[in-house]
Each structure stands twice: as C-alpha cells, then as structure tokens.
Symmetry: C2
Subunit: 200 residues, 2 copies
Amino acid sequence: MTHRLPEPLLALIAALSRLPGIGPRSAERLGLHLVQTDPALVAQLARSLVDARERIRTCDACGALTEVNPCNLCTDPGRDASLLCVVERATDILVLEKAGTFRGRYHVLGGRLSPVNGVGPEDLRLEELTQRLAQGTAKELVLALGTDVEGDATAHYLAERFGSPTVSVTRLAAGLPAGSGLDFADELTLSRALEGRRPV
Amino acid sequence: MTHRLPEPLLALIAALSRLPGIGPRSAERLGLHLVQTDPALVAQLARSLVDARERIRTCDACGALTEVNPCNLCTDPGRDASLLCVVERATDILVLEKAGTFRGRYHVLGGRLSPVNGVGPEDLRLEELTQRLAQGTAKELVLALGTDVEGDATAHYLAERFGSPTVSVTRLAAGLPAGSGLDFADELTLSRALEGRRPV
C-alpha cells in the first residue's frame, strides 16, 4: 500500500484546484498549509466564503457587484447620470474607479460579441441598457471596451444600435500608455496613436 | 464617495490574501471569481476547508498528517520498522513516498536546527525520537534533510546524539540530479558529487 494523503485533505486540494489560477501544485501547497494552520483562521476563511457569496449580488440596473440593489453607484446623486460607461465585466468598474477620473454611471455588458464563441447580442445585458436609455437621462455612452477585434466589433455594434441624435457614443482613446516611450510600443499601438493624434 | 467593493467581498479578499503564495492581486481575482461562481461550489469549498482542518491531525508517533492516530505509516506491518527516515516537515514524507523507494518508517522533526532563527534541539520532535529508538526496533536513522548549512548542522547534531553501536545514522547522497548533465550542475553540487564518488 502506497501512502496517500488523508481523504479530507485530498477533497480540500481538489476543491482548491478548481479555482482559477490555482494549479495542482499550488492547491496541494495551500491544502497542506490549511490543515496545519490555526483552526480559527480556517473557520474564518470558510465563513467569509459563504458570507460573501450569499450577500453579494449584481445590481439589476448596472450589473455591478453589490450588497444593495440598486447599487450605490446607481443611487449616488453625486454621479453624473448623463454619462454611462459601458464595460464588459463587473470587475472593469473597479479598474476605472481606481483611476478615479470618471464620475458618471456604469453599465456592465457581461461579455462582448464573439461569433466564434457563440456570443451574440442576446447574450449581453442590452435589454437593460435599452431600458436605461429609454429613461432619457443618459446623453453619452462611453465605451470602455478592450482594443482587440472583438472589442472593436462590440463597439461598432453598440454605436450602430444605440447612437442617436440625443445619445452620442464615444470610446476610450487608444494610444501610448502613460509614462512609456515609443521604443516600448508595438506597431498596432503606434499606428492607433498616430490615427488619434491631437493638437497640443 | 469613491466606489469600494462591498464589505463581505473585502473581508473575503483579506482572508484569502493571508494564505501563503496568494498576493493582494491574486486574492482580489479569486474573491471576485468566488462571489460570481456557483454558490453550491463555494459552499462545498467552505465545507472542505472546515472538514479537512477538523479531521486531520499529526500522528503522535511519527508526526505525519493523518486522520487516525497512530497513522497508517506507523501501523502498516508491510513497512520495515528497522529503518527510520528523519524529515523536516510532514510534507517531505509525500515527496519521498512519490519516489516510492523507501519502505521503512518516518519521523518528522518539525523543523531543523537554526541558531539564527532561535530554533534549538528542544524545538524539534527529538523526545519522540528518543522514545521510538528506546523501543529498540530501529537500526538505522536515514536523514533526509536539506543540503544547506542548517541541514548539515542538524544532520551532525542528530548523528552525534542518536548514533550508537546499535543504531547507524546515514544521510541521503548529495550529487548530480538524475537526467542532468555536468553543464547544469553548480560548483557545490559538483564538488559534493566528486566527494561522494563510487566504484562503477
């Protein structure tokens, strides 16, 4: 009989290795650490897991992660309701909020158009977007999408479908990253920076 | 008011970032994944955590991780009780068992001598080792310790304290790793391989 890890530890390692970015070796290392660490800390981690999963939901209006529905971003009167920033995922909001420049509201698509992966317009939160625009407060859709082919396709689709005399559709500028030089930019970034050049 | 993540999610991320090898960014990524994934999977992970921590303990005799005490390694009649392999940590047993060559029993020290870090003989499981040797079944202590300065110091201390006419103390060979060439070996490994050369 070869020696194996005890069953409950194997089950824990299996559960951990299902997490994104945790390979079999990391899962084993984590599992071994957890069964040898302070039981109170392990119980606390388990509680945090269940607690967070139960209490956090997505906002019906914008799709952000929130405890209250509608979320604070949607109800904050200090935010400019005429600006609606469209992002792919709820986590993109965090990145933009860390930058701290945008003071409008958000709308999470929940993905982007990708015919190859079978993602069509009906798979995105576009009905919700239509309803929000029907309220008439939003005057500009700021598309904060990735700058690859699928991001471009999604941007064009949204501009076509939602652009109107009362609602303009804009997109984040593509160009050189801040604090970087020409020698670090790839060719596509450079040509987009050229296309988007602006008077100084 | 800047937008922050909901409190339960922040608590989860904080708990995750206390795990070894999980930095702040990985913890955030994991937390965001967990609050958006199947609640049943999250509940299962939480249960596995508590379950593993509660059911797994260290064997009083050898120090291995186990559900039963004494562990299967200590009670397995198919294992040679005259050979006792001394390792630093319980997880070292797994590495040796994967290699599959050793058919004796184990003894976990729980560390190694390190005056710099204030680890002395009284901090290691040496009382337990004394008791096991007093039973008279073990004839050889195989030291499977790291090959750095602290490993060397621990090996010499153990040889001095436990070596006797009835108990020999040996150490794993130091030399070239299997399947590797001279060009990949560092100088210290090479000189140890030379010192340990054997007739073909």
